[in-house]
Every structure is written in structure tokens, then in C-alpha cells.
Amino acid sequence: MASTEASVPRLHLRVANKKAYVWDVEDIATIRTKHRLCGVFTGTLPHMSQQNLFLGVPMVLLPEEVVLLVENELAVLVDDPNAHIQPSVPELQRWNAKEKELAQLRLAQLNAAIASLPAVLSEEAMQKRKERELKRQAAAAKAAEAAAEGSIFAPPENAPPPPPPPEPQYTVVIPASSISFEWYNDSACHYTTIQSAKEAGIWEYPSNLHERAKCGVFRGLWEQGMYMGGGIKFGGDYLVYPGDPLRYHAHFSATVLESPTFSLTPMEIVAHGRLGTVTKKSHLLCGWDDEKKEVSYLSIEWAGFG
């Protein structure tokens, strides 16, 4: 894949079901700090998939962010399902052996850690534990005696040999990213332009005037140095931050108007303006002109009188 800027490799955005995900933490850091895009974390914890207070990788990008990254030649789209190839038997065996080795290593480390722990049980507890153990042994002996006396539950003479003890169980860690697998190869499913990804059927955005307007407005604000987040909490299309959202409050909520003639009612102006004033934000009307490919802005605030 020949990149125009050979020195900076393009980020790989992994597309599944027409959404672009970023699985690599380093890539997420690059997108946030260098490219000034926030995305949204969507990964939950495997054992608590219902909680959504603390989310992690993968990060899903807004479609506008994806279009911007690809158009600026900072990222390529990867057809993720097709990058996973059917693994061969030797590949799976190698993977299995490696996992087992890792599990043994982990077990050994755990045992070593336990052995090095100081004894924490008190004298009294040790005594109680010993008594419990003796009681259990007595009960077991009684049961064995009963069985020997010709119980119907006694095993028959010609019983088959017991099955071999199962292999010790261990936890398999599934890595977040597939790139370490031998059966993952994305070199053949890169798309360097939105158009080529659309032709391959893995991407659709932007597909109409409204989506083109959103991409145009997003780019316009981004080029002014703004950071954008989802605007649902303030009834707009975006929340606009003058710097990283972790450091700044949003100054604006923004709505996208897809053409200069797109209808806008005075009631919308009142609603946006009033909400913005209460929350110490201005509301931005972002007007897109699809012929000129230009954005212009109007800021709304309550007048302070009347």
C-alpha cells in the first residue's frame, strides 16, 4: 500500500457492519492528540457487559470523523470480516500450544506468589480447620463402610477404568485486536478512499445531502481548531469545544442546516438560543452550501432584553 506520506503510516480503521472501530490504544491516543478527534468508547467488561459507566476499547468513530481521517490521508478503511482468514490446523495447534505455555507460566507465577505470602491464619483458626478436617474424614470412613456392606450403589466388579483426569483448566485471554493472529491479514482489504470503500460495499457515509452537509460542517469546525462531540444532550448535532473536552467546557452546540433554503422556524431559534444561554453556550447555526462546498456560521444568543 503506497502512501503519499511514506514517513507516517496511515491508521487502520477496522470496519464492521459499516461502523469504523479502533482497537489499538496507541492509535486511539494518536487520533485524540494529533488529529483532535474524540470518537466514543464502546467496549464493556466481558464479565459485566451491562454496565456502561466505564467503557474502553474498541473506540467507534463518528462517520464524519472517519470521512475526515480518510480524506486527509491519515487513515485507511479495513474490511475487517474479510481480513480474518480460515485458520489452518497447524496454525491453530501452534496457537493452542502457546496459550498452554502461557497458562502454565501464569500458574507458576501465581503459586510462587502464594508461597511467598506470610501465613495469615491465627492459631485458633488453624485449630478449627484441623477439627473440620477430622470430622470430614470420619464421615467419609463411615460412608465407605456402608458401601462395603453390599449396598446396591456399590460399583460392579467389571467396571470400565475411570477416565483419565481432565487437563487442568486455564483461562484463555482473547486479545482485543486480531492483528497478532496468524489467520489475520488485512493487507488485501485496505481502502484508501471513501469512494473505493463505497464501491467495495463496506462503507456508505455520506450518501445524501444531509450527510454531506454534516461532513462539510464537521470539517469546517475541525479546521478552525474545534473538537466535536455528540450533541444529543443539548438538542443539536454537535457539541463544539474550543480544545480537548477533558480540558474545556463546550462553548457551542451546533445544528447543521443542509442548504441555504432549508427551512428554519423562529421557534427553533428561540429553543436553541434559550437553552444555549441557560447553559452558558451559544448556539451555532451551520449553513452548508453544497454547490460551493462551503460552511457559514451564525451564532445565536438571547438578546438580553424584551
Partner: protein
């Protein structure tokens, strides 16, 4: 309406733009009598089929611009930018939104990305 003391100042535009007459009349009276602006004038803006009001807020020297509209109208982004252009691009205009029950509300529109006041 013709008997109202404000009518003479508006007589040249009210019959010209009947659809905008109600909101202009209401906004003009509010600006003059309630907000007590001074140097109030009426400007004919043919491009958006209505008249705008200019004047100075009490204790200020800068000219402010008011464009009246009714709550029932449908505007557009292009309409608003045309209003700015017809008023020779002031940094901000006030949109006076009027309703049938004689209530009125003003919103300040500024060109470009203007930070909210702290």
C-alpha cells in the same frame, strides 16, 4: 392601526409588505415605547420583503439593528444571511420574534463563530 401614534413613522412600509406588517408594527412599538431606544428609524429591505428597525439602546452610542418576524413564518439560513447583507453586514442583528398574543422575544444573531459572553 392608522389611528395609532406610531403609524405615520411606518406608513411607507406597512402597506408595501402586508404579510410582515403585524410583526413590524408590534416590534416598532416595543422598541420605541418599552425598550426606549433612541434615534429609531425604519429601513426598507426589499430583498426579504419587510422593513427593519435601527436605533440606539438606552445609554449607548452604537447603532443596533432589529429584523422583525412572526412566529408563524418559516425562515432559512439564506434568509438570515440576506438580512445581514441588506443591512451592510453589521456584526450582529436582533431578530424580533412576535406572536399573535402580542408577546415578543429578541434573539441576537452574530455572523461567524462568536464565543458566548462569560
Amino acid at each position: 392601526m392608522q389611528a395609532h401614534p406610531s403609524y405615520p413613522a411606518l406608513a411607507h412600509v406597512l402597506p408595501k409588505y402586508p404579510r410582515a406588517a403585524g410583526s413590524l408594527f408590534q416590534a416598532y412599538n416595543d422598541i420605541v415605547l418599552v425598550q426606549e431606544w433612541t434615534d429609531v428609524k425604519v429601513l426598507d429591505l426589499e430583498g426579504i420583503s419587510r422593513a427593519a428597525i435601527t436605533g440606539k439602546k438606552p445609554k449607548t452610542d452604537a447603532t443596533s439593528y432589529v429584523v422583525p418576524c412572526s412566529l408563524a413564518e418559516t425562515l432559512s439560513f439564506g434568509w438570515l444571511t440576506t438580512a445581514f447583507t441588506l443591512l451592510s453586514d453589521p456584526p450582529e442583528i436582533f431578530l424580533a420574534i412576535t406572536s399573535d398574543d402580542a408577546s415578543i422575544v429578541y434573539y441576537k444573531l452574530s455572523r461567524g463563530i462568536v464565543k458566548p459572553q462569560v
